[in-house]
Structure formats: C-alpha cells, structure tokens
Amino acid sequence: MRVKILSGITLAFFFTFVFAFALWNVVVSFLRWEGLFPTPNFFGLNNYVSLWGYSPFNVALINTLFLTVFFVPLTLFIAILIAILLDQIKGGVFFRTIYMLPFAIAPSAAGIMWSWMFNPSNGTINNLLRLLGFNANIYWIIDRSLVMYSIMLGLIWQTSGYVTLIILAGILSIPIVQIEASKIDGASTLRIYFSIILPQLKEAILTAWLFLMIFAVKVFDFIYTLTGGGPGIASYVLGILLYNTSFIGLDFGKGSAIATLMVLYALIFYLIPRKVRR
C-alpha cells in the first residue's frame, strides 16, 4: 500500500508538471494575457499572427534555423572525425575525458568563460592570434555579422566531446571480428571505416543528431550569459525571445505561442527517428 501511494504521488507530480502544464501553455497561447494575473480574454490566433512579421521573432527564427542547419551537421561531422581518431590511438580514454569536460560545465558558466575568450582588447583568442603573428582585432561578439558564428564555435566546444562519445560508443559496439576479417582480406584503414564501420553507425548518428537538434532549439543559457541576445537583437534565438517576451515584457500570451511553436518543432524530432527506423 505504501508503495502504491508513493508511486501515485510521484506520477501526480509528473503528469501535472510535465503534461498538464504543457497543455495549459497551449491554452494560454490563445489568450490575451499581459502582466502576471490579468483577467485573460480569448484572443484566438492573434498571438500567433502577431509573431508573423514581428522582427525579433524573424531574427530569432532565422538564428535558430541557422543553428540547426550549420551547427548540427558541423558538430556531427567533427565528432565523427574525432571518434575515428580516438578509435585509432592508444590513450583514447584520457583524451575522451578531456574532450567531455566542457559538457560538464554549466552552459551559463561556459558563456561567461567564452565572453573572456572573445573579448576584443586582450581576450584569449585575439591574443593567441596576435602571438601567432596575425594582426587580430576581431570583434567576435560585438560584430553583428560575426556573432552567430562565434556562438556556434562556443556551442561546438561545449557539445562536440559528448557527441564524440555517442559515436565512439557506436564504433566500439561493432564486433571486432568483422574488422579483423576485412583487415586479413587486405582492406585499408580508410576503406574499413567507409565500408564497414560507417554503415553500422546509423543508429549512433541518429541518436547524436536527435540530441543536437533538440539542443539547438532549446539553447538559452550559453547565449544569455555570452551576449544576452545582442548586439541589439542580432543573436536572438527562440529561447531568448521567449524569455524576454514573457518575463521582461510580461506578455505571457505571446510567450506561450512561442513556446508552443518550439514544442511542435521538437515533437517533429521525436517522431522522425521512429519513422526512419521503420
């Protein structure tokens, strides 16, 4: 009896917070809800319609798409290369531990570390480039046209070690006999990776891709402490826009509409891997 009561309490928490709240969020997105406790009026699709052509939303959407189109495949590609590298050398565990380190650091703290890296006057990257003989005076996160690339560099630093680990686990799960057999047949290392290992990595790559896609749409902490969405609104992403609209602008109706769109977007990525596997 005690077990059932405790489990019931746990599930009540789970369903209330995770599902009832998510549904409630959808309801709020159809209301005009400004300020903390107004008398909400039905607003139809107006919250959604008002996003259309609202320039911060356009910027945020484009930047989020930028991350899914560039950051995700690039990180995946880098991680596959690093996983192959670690598979080839001894001491892979040692390097793996170092490469994973950034993922253990809080994204908000990482954002602060990188704001010093990107500091234009005597920040780490510009200083390193100067030591190497370049006349570097690059405004990494102050230049509007550069800021999203700089953010992407930081995000790659934070996630690629973890993604490498997912891929590496996939490589290590391939039976060693298969690889040995093709070695005896005289296949080159490159050929073994292309014809034997890569095709069997489908599952691991799909897992990594899914993780990165969801990471890219949720990203908030790192950008919040690094640029705060600036300069101006140049590095707005959906997460930053949602926060500013809801908790700075106190327009909860519009904020909920943004959140609902983000959930729909993430749900697509929940369903795609299921389709691919069938």
């Binding site: 809080a106 949720k218 959140a259």
Partner: protein, 270 residues
C-alpha cells in the same frame, strides 16, 4: 609510426582547444586588473592574486548555500520517489503501465520551454515565488521523466522471479522494495544522483524566473556578469571557477556514472 605521431599531435591540439577556455578562465582569475590588459591570457602571472577568490566568494556565498540546499534536496527526493515509482511501473502488472512508460519517454524530450509560463503562474499564485522550496519542487518535478526512464530501464533488467519468490514468502510490497530492489540498485542510484545533482546545480533558468533574492549559484553568477562585475574579469573568472568547481569534482570522481546517465537519457527514450 609516422601516421601515429601525427594522430597524437591532432589529439593534443584538440585537447588544447577543449581546455583553453577553462585555462584562460583560471589565468584571469589569479591576475590583477592591470595584469589582465598587460599580460597574455595564455600565461599565468608572476604572483597569484588570490584576493579575487575572496571577493568572488563573498559575492556568491548566498547562491552557494541556496544551490547546495536545492541540489541536495532535489537529489534525495528524486532517488526516493523515482525508485519507488519505477518499481511499481515495472514490477506490478497494471494494464496502463506501458502507456505511462511511453508518456515518460515523451516527457524526456519535451523542451523545458513548454512549462515555463504555467510554472511561474502557479508558483506565484501559491505565494512560493523566491523560495528555496519552489526551486526544489520544480527541479524534482521536471527531472522526473529522466529519473523514471533511468530507474525503469534498470529495474526491467532485474528478474521478476526474485520478487515472486519473496512474495510467496509473504513479504509486503514495501518489504520487497526495501530489502530486495533497493540493495540491488546501487549503481543506478549513483547515476541518478550524479545526474540530478549536476543538472540542478547547473541550472540558470528556473533561478532566473522563480527567484529575486534567494538566487541559486548560476543565476547569481549571471547576475554579476550583467551587473556590478560586468568588466571585472578577474573577479568574474574567479567566481565562474568557484561555481563550476563542485560539478567538476563530481565529473572527475564519478564521470563514468555521469556519462552513463547522459547516454541513457538520450538513447533509452527511443
């Protein structure tokens, strides 16, 4: 052999890239303001200026206490309720159990953005805004999908025959849980504990939207960057290192479990 040396060179270069931000954070944290602009961020100063750490600690100590309390309480609650609930979901033959398990999997992938606004409204309406209690409840509840996924997948690997044998001897459900399941759960308790502690400690967002004075460590740190220490990089970097230190220690000592937690969170839901 030549190829091998080349590969090690690349591996070392990558290690340099991954460690550089942490290293330059450390060098800045022991410099004076003048040294920040006159010396290279790559190198340590001649004399360590440890006063930065005292300043940063004083600015962040309330945040430390809040985060210690919230992370510890969240971890304990998650271990206790999570394991009991997962036990019910896997070892009792309720007909809706498979559906609940499916929904838990979906819950893992639900972006946290979905619950933010209702959370703020409910917490404020209950008068819990700016309390440690609110942070604990929220972290416990939103951590549940992952916690339950980890526990249920572990319990599925414990054979049912063990439990049936105990039940034939007349053991109650609670007795089965506390004397059979729980002692077998050591590794998964560590995985969940490490994961929950880390996530709660690293949280910025809930601190941002649910607190004003009682801010957890990461929110307090972000506040320093946006506020009084905006350009005092030496203080800011010392504070950043202090803030990430507990999780870094966990990662170095228990990294294996942390990684296992991360991995199952992403793979078990599919």
């Amino acid at each position: 052999m030549k190829v091998n040396l080349f590969l090690y060179a690349i591996a070392l270069f990558l290690a340099f890239f991954y460690l550089l931000p942490i290293w330059s954070c450390f060098t800045a944290s022991v410099k004076t303001v003048e040294e920040l602009s006159t010396t290279s961020p790559l190198f340590l100063p001649w004399r360590f200026n440890l006063e930065n750490y005292i300043v940063a600690y004083n600015a962040l100590k309330e945040g430390f206490l809040v985060s210690v309390a919230v992370s510890t309480a969240t971890t304990i609650l998650s271990l206790f309720f999570g394991s009991v609930c997962a036990f019910t979901l896997t070892k009792f033959k309720f007909k809706w159990n498979p559906y609940i398990l499916g929904l838990i999997g979906l819950g893992v992938l639900m972006p946290f953005n979905a619950y933010l606004i209702p959370t703020v409204l409910v917490i404020s309406a209950m008068g819990l805004y700016d309390t440690i209690f609110a942070l604990i409840v929220v972290h416990f509840a939103f951590g549940l999908p992952t916690t339950l996924v980890l526990f249920t997948s572990y319990y599925l690997s414990i054979p049912d025959t063990l439990i049936e044998a105990a039940k034939l001897d007349g053991a109650s459900d609670w007795k089965v849980f506390s004397s059979i399941i729980s002692p077998l759960s050591g590794p998964i308790y560590v995985v969940v504990a490490v994961l929950r502690f880390t996530f709660t400690w690293n949280d910025l967002f809930y601190g941002l939207i649910l607190t004003k004075q009682n801010r957890p460590i990461m929110t307090a740190l972000a506040g320093l960057k946006g506020g009084e220490y905006a350009f005092a990089w030496n203080y800011l970097m010392a504070g950043t290192l202090l803030a990430v230190l507990p999780v870094l220690i966990v990662y170095i000592l228990l990294g294996k479990y942390l990684i296992r937690g991360y991995m199952s969170e992403i793979t078990k839901v599919q």
